[in-house]
Amino acid sequence: MGLFSGTKTPKDDWSAIATVIKAEAKLQALGEITPSRRAGVIYRNDENNSFQGDIKNELDVVLYVGKGATKTAFEIQDDDRGMRWIVLEDGNFGDLASSVYTVGNAIGMNDGVDNLLAAVFELYFTGTVEDNTYRSGLRTYWIYRYDRKAFYPFVPTGDSEGERDRQTEARLGQDLRKHGLVVEKSLTEWMGLWGIPF
């Protein structure tokens, strides 16, 4: 991110999350991934926050009511590390990404900016083309950190902390940047999320 590097860090979540739609479409066109339909938003739940305390009903409104509502299916899950996940599923990736943004934005707008941790997209590499760079069936997560406004790939190799395929992640990061995704420049910030509930 030097003065002369030419790339700008997006100022808001939407301009960053929008790049995931572009990158996903490109990789699909190249035959490298299967259509992706699952994503999640993880945040530190605060029951005293009125919006978060009534999250189910609030999201029913945010995602289903009104013109242009994406009507993305969602599920609320608490993990064993004290975090809450909104797991989203939608056959239309553009809608899925929009819903991810909407959920994060709604939590943020209701005094929850500091509670937001990350948004996570799940993507499978297939190997339907002969020069596929990644092994077939490789499951990857693209993590978006709200505090950094950038993505990075996460390829866990197990459920315990530290178990990840760093070499593949580094490569994937470069490829995704090439495909337009806003990728976190500092590798030390690529923190994992072990035990993603989807």
């Binding site: 530290g162 760093r166 590798l187």
Partner: protein
């Protein structure tokens, strides 16, 4: 070693200038500088061995390393170069020699420990590619040209300022300062060009090495491993991150790589790895 060459050349230019200011004949100055350049050119491998602490090893001392170098040298159809080892944990390797007959390839003990056989072979292949492409000679000539050019430019200015060469020298301190300054500027610009050339030759060696080994991915893996960047990816879980970013003294957006690319001899690692990966794809499945 490029830095050493840079400084040596710089020294020549200043030294020649100093001789000029004493009123010595140009032809003598040219001769002295010429001898120095030639000595440097022919002594370079020994100078480098001395300055890096590299020790030439025999096939008995390092059989595996020797076998590997021999195998690669055969593929390049060059004579077996001297093999040297530098005892340091810092992972590095270099090749030197004005031509394949006088080549030497050196690796550090650190790189031997850190890389697997395939990766080490790719690194040595890259270094031998420098020898095969005669990069030392190209560089020496480029350096020589830069030195000569800055010397000639200096003479020109000398003439303009004092009128006539080695003639009446009513040299005021200010005039001399201007001449020194011009020398430095011209030499500096010349060196930037040499650095650009060096970076270009670096890509060339990556490419040649990959063609010889048929495995560009190996060098890409090695570069990533040596640079240690991959190991910067943390073990830590994001949920353990408690503090917000707002209190960092240096905001995330301001950190990161600077703009020193112009001055570095090696192209940015990421770019080299990227090119190697692309080459890997093309080699595996044919050009499309």
């Amino acid at each position: 070693m490029y830095f050493t060459m840079f400084m040596l050349g710089f020294l020549y230019a200043i030294f020649a200038l100093f001789l000029m200011s004493t009123g010595m004949e140009l032809i003598f100055i040219g001769g002295i500088v010429g001898v120095m350049v030639v000595v440097q050119y022919y002594m370079s491998d020994r100078l480098i061995l001395m300055s890096t602490g590299a020790k030439v090893v025999t096939a008995e001392q390092q059989p595996a390393l020797h076998r590997m170098v021999k195998l690669l040298a055969d593929r390049y159809e060059m004579p077996m170069p001297k093999v040297a080892v530098i005892d340091t944990p810092i992972p590095n390797a270099f090749a030197t020699g004005r031509n394949p007959k006088n080549a030497l390839v050196a690796v550090t003990t650190g790189i031997q420990q850190r890389l697997n056989e395939r990766e080490l072979q790719a690194v040595i292949g890259h270094e031998l590619a420098h020898v095969a492409n005669r990069d030392m000679r190209v560089l020496a000539i480029a350096n020589f040209l830069v030195t000569i050019t800055s010397f000639l430019m200096t003479m020109l200015f000398w003439n303009m300022l004092f009128g006539g060469m080695g003639g009446r020298r009513n040299n005021s301190g200010g005039g001399m300062m201007v001449v020194y300054l011009v020398t430095i500027v011209v030499y500096f610009i010349g060196q930037l060009l040499v650095l650009a050339l060096t970076r270009y030759r670096e890509y060339g060696a990556d490419h040649t090495g990959a063609e010889i080994s048929g495995d560009p991915g190996a060098l890409a893996d090695a570069l990533e491993k040596i640079s240690g960047t991959v190991n910067n990816i943390p073990d830590k879980d994001l949920r353990k991150l408690q503090t917000a970013n707002a209190f960092l003294i240096i905001p995330a957006a301001l950190k990161g790589e600077g703009s020193m690319h112009l001055f570095s001899t090696h192209p940015p690692l990421e770019e080299r790895v990227k090119r190697l990966r692309e080459l890997e794809k093309r080699m595996r499945y044919g050009l499309r």
